[in-house]
């Protein structure tokens, strides 16, 4: 007769049995070809997008002269902008600063492209004024005070930003003429595309695609396959509760999926950190973003894993039940892009995971909303009116970024979402094990 082991307690006994099941599960995954195929396909899919990202980060974005002041309309060799500063007539070939004494050398046209970039404090909160006229075509122009103060705030050559507390967003910039009207497209676009890429790959790539498809393929058969193959008989004839078998299988599944997610996140994070626009050689600030992405994906795979395993246990064709659920989650994901504060999002798993990423983006990049508005305003020039000449990357970023919609601070959002997701996982574990317990296994 076997004597009970010494110094044993609840946790160590559970750990032995749970640990055995988990270890067995991990070894089992290793031997299955499908595991490697799925992990490989996920890797390839993410990396195709990363390649496109790296490619676009290397690309030159054409510098556009938004305000047209690099053109030489009168053919006197002096760009319009220069002529404006010196008060000569841009349309008169006879009138140019070369006639001054001493004569002023003509500027190369490039000097008047992207010369008046944004000078905004992006950490501003609430109504504020921003902007500085770098090229001087407002400040130094020969015009009246009222001409220099179109937005009537008694400050010449500035931009008024109104923050709408109710809707939590910035209104259209109210700019004096010719202030920050020729921004640096490349600088903005690179930053915007970089942020958009991070958000897109974090939300759609990691949380949605990886977060749903990895559990769909790997977790649905955790209990079901063993039941179908009759190999569950062996495990059930041992003194281990069915609830613990369920949990042990999930832990084994997480032991494969979580390291994979962490590794993928780190690799892509490193690549984007080096390839993204930065003052130094690496974007250290983004690491917080990647940590959030990895964390959200880990929680999503946990919850979905429990759910799909429970569905698989419930019904032989459980994977068929999983599909409409995945479709629902896709709908919720799209909804969270457009209407992040919709309360129906609280009834999904992905809504909470995306919240974590959105909250982190607000911490890492303060005032994303303002940044997007900046790009959409784009200097305010062009044919399309205020919003028709947005800078490249602004549309993409506005598509993929969103508010958390919970109305609380970002850190609190992350904490609350984490708890909700863990709670969902716990509930699903209990439901799944209750289903498993009631199953008669032939």
């Amino acid at each position: 007769m076997m004597s009970p082991p010494k110094k044993d307690n609840v946790f160590r006994a559970l750990d032995r049995k749970l640990g055995a099941v988990a270890e067995f599960t991990m070894r089992q995954y290793r031997t299955k070809l499908s595991t490697w195929v799925i992990l490989g396909v996920g890797f390839i899919a993410i990396f195709i997008v990363v390649l496109f990202y790296v490619d676009s980060m290397q690309q030159e974005i054409e510098a556009i002269d938004n305000d047209g002041d690099s053109m030489d309309w009168d053919g006197d060799g002096y760009p319009t902008g220069q002529e404006r500063i010196y008060g000569t007539d841009p349309d008169n070939p006879e009138s140019h600063p070369g006639t001054f004494s001493p004569p002023i050398a003509p500027d190369p046209p490039e000097k008047w492209i992207n010369e008046d970039d944004f000078d905004w404090d992006l950490s501003a909160r609430g109504d504020t004024t921003v902007g500085y006229d770098d090229d001087g075509d407002c400040r130094l122009a020969d015009s009246t005070q009222s001409q220099k103060d179109n937005n009537r705030n008694n400050v010449e050559c500035d931009i008024i930003l109104d923050y709408d507390e109710m809707r939590g967003e910035w209104s259209e910039p109210n700019s004096d003429r010719l202030v920050d009207e020729d921004p640096d497209e490349e600088k903005y676009a690179k930053e915007a595309i970089h942020r958009a890429f991070l958000l897109a790959i974090g939300k759609m790539g990691f949380v949605f695609l990886l977060g749903i498809f990895l559990p769909l393929f790997l977790a649905t058969g955790l209990i079901r396959e063993e039941m179908d193959n009759s190999t569950m008989h062996f495990m059930l004839a041992k003194p281990i509760a069915r609830r613990d078998i369920f949990l042990g299988r999930i832990v084994g599944y997480l032991g494969i999926v979580w390291p994979y997610v962490i590794a993928m996140g780190l690799i892509v994070g490193l690549i984007s950190g080096f390839a993204g626009p930065s003052d130094g050689f690496f974007r250290f600030a983004d690491l917080g973003m990647w940590m959030a992405i990895i964390f959200a994906t880990m929680l999503a795979t946990l919850v979905y894993g429990m759910l799909f395993c429970a569905l698989g246990t419930l019904w032989k064709h459980g994977i068929v039940l999983a599909l409409p659920f995945a479709a629902w989650e896709l709908g919720m994901a799209i909804l969270s892009f457009n209407a992040p504060s919709a309360s129906i999002l609280r009834f999904s798993v992905i809504g909470w995971s995306l919240n974590i990423i959105d909250a982190a983006s607000l911490v890492v990049w303060p005032n994303m909303n303002l940044f997007i508005n900046m790009g959409l305003w784009g200097g305010g020039h062009g044919d399309g009116g205020w919003w028709g000449n947005s800078l490249e990357g602004a549309d993409a970023l506005s598509a993929f970024a969103s508010d958390t919609g919970l109305g609380i601070s970002p850190i609190a959002t992350i904490v609350v979402s984490t708890f909700v997701l863990l709670f969902q996982a716990l509930i699903l574990w209990l439901i799944g094990s209750a289903i498993f317990k009631g199953k008669e296994i032939e």
Binding site: S34, S56, A196, F197, G205, F217
Partner: protein
């Protein structure tokens, strides 16, 4: 209770012969009961008959039992009785014999190849709605019926438009270039919800179940070519999809003609478009079936091929959309089967192309490559399938 019996000591004399009986045959010592008053309770009269038929017609060692005799006995010649006794006679000899086994090949007429193939095809197709053929699952059948009716929605709306008499309604739903294209290749809802899932359900267990249960042995131990085997499975899956996609297209076209009394001029005008849509549909069916069957031949599970097919179709499409939105590059559409099909379909039907960064020939080439890879995988897996369970 019977507890007493459990502790009863072994008071009865043990039978002396506990060792394995010396006879290696089915019959223990023959018990001729002819000279004994019949035991009152021997419920099956056949037993008595059987006993009687084992007369002592013992062959001797000079007439050895050959394999031929066993075969004849087993497969039924009229002289069954004496051969049984021949087998029983082995127990009397002290020597052993080694027998040559002569197997005669069957000399009957084999029916033509097309008949055998038709049997396979029929088995798969009739299984959708008849018992006694390949048992498609109930959810599959229900979904197929639902999708069939859903695909008829545009025909139904055309009919409705004639009943209402609203020409604007008709111009929205009636047969025209865009609607013919949309019936086959429209993204939402047909190619998101209906057709890929139909394909996924159909290809799910087609080959993988044979691998799992070893029923491929039933096919390959008969005079059936591997090409025929996979060809007929392919044809059956394609045929079922064709009913849902192409037949409904045809019905849609027909509804318009009959309900609105379209004349030959109209038919002559629209028939090329109809043909274009038809070809687009055929390409769709071929592509989905090839990829699906390739997945089915690789896997052993019932659902993995279907889910894999859905993942490929919808996943590549999603990826391509993400890249297009982020980086404004459409090149990734070449990896998505749906988008390649849509691009080629748009060219066939001559509607407004929605893929403007590259020409449709690229999409066609990509489709051909995808199909080639899928068919290569399929053929190599099927040709290496073992006759026994893998």
């Amino acid at each position: 209770m019977s507890d007493d019996e459990e502790i009863l000591p072994q008071s009865l004399p043990q039978p002396m012969t506990i060792e394995p009986q010396p006879q290696p045959l089915a019959q223990p010592q023959p018990q001729p009961m002819a000279s004994v008053p019949q035991a009152p309770i021997l419920p099956i009269p056949q037993q008595v008959q059987k006993v009687e038929s084992v007369e002592t017609r013992m062959a001797t060692a000079e007439t050895p039992v050959t394999g031929q005799a066993r075969m004849d006995t087993a497969w039924g010649s009229s002289e069954g009785d004496e051969d049984i006794s021949q087998m029983a006679s082995i127990s009397q000899t002290d020597t052993g014999e080694i027998f040559k086994q002569n197997y005669e090949p069957w000399r009957g007429e084999l029916n033509p190849r097309w008949m055998r193939n038709w049997a396979i095809l029929r088995h798969h197709i009739l299984g959708i709605f008849k018992k006694g053929h390949r048992p498609w699952g109930v959810p599959t059948r229900i979904f197929l019926v639902l999708v069939f009716f859903a695909s008829l929605s545009d025909a139904a709306l055309t009919l409705l438009s004639s009943l209402i008499g609203d020409s604007e309604f008709h111009s929205y739903w009636g047969v025209n270039r865009d609607n013919l294209y949309g019936h086959v290749l429209g993204f939402f809802p047909r190619n998101v919800m209906y057709y890929p899932i139909v394909a996924a359900l159909l290809v799910g267990g087609v080959i993988s179940e044979d691998r799992l249960h070893g029923t491929s042995a039933l096919y390959f131990s008969r005079p059936i070519n591997r090409f025929d085997y996979v060809g007929m499975k392919y044809a059956s899956v394609a045929f079922i999809q064709a009913i849902i996609i192409i037949f409904t297209l045809f019905l849609y076209y027909l509804t318009e003609i009959m309900v609105f009394g379209r004349g030959w001029a109209w038919i002559v005008d629209t028939f090329p478009i109809f043909l274009g849509a038809l070809m687009g549909g055929v390409l769709l069916i071929i592509t989905y079936t090839s990829i699906g069957l390739a997945l089915s031949s690789v896997s052993k599970g019932k659902f993995f091929p279907g889910i894999g097919l859905l993942a490929i179709i919808l996943g590549t499409k999603t990826l391509a959309i993400i890249v297009k939105n982020l980086f404004d590059r459409e090149i990734l559409y070449l990896l998505s089967p749906y988008d390649c099909l849509a691009h080629v379909g748009q060219t066939l039907v001559n509607t407004q192309p929605t893929y403007d960064q590259y020409s449709w020939t690229w999409s066609l080439a990509s489709l051909i490559v995808m199909n080639a890879i899928a068919l290569y995988v399929l053929s190599s897996r099927v040709s290496s399938m073992e006759v026994t369970r893998e």
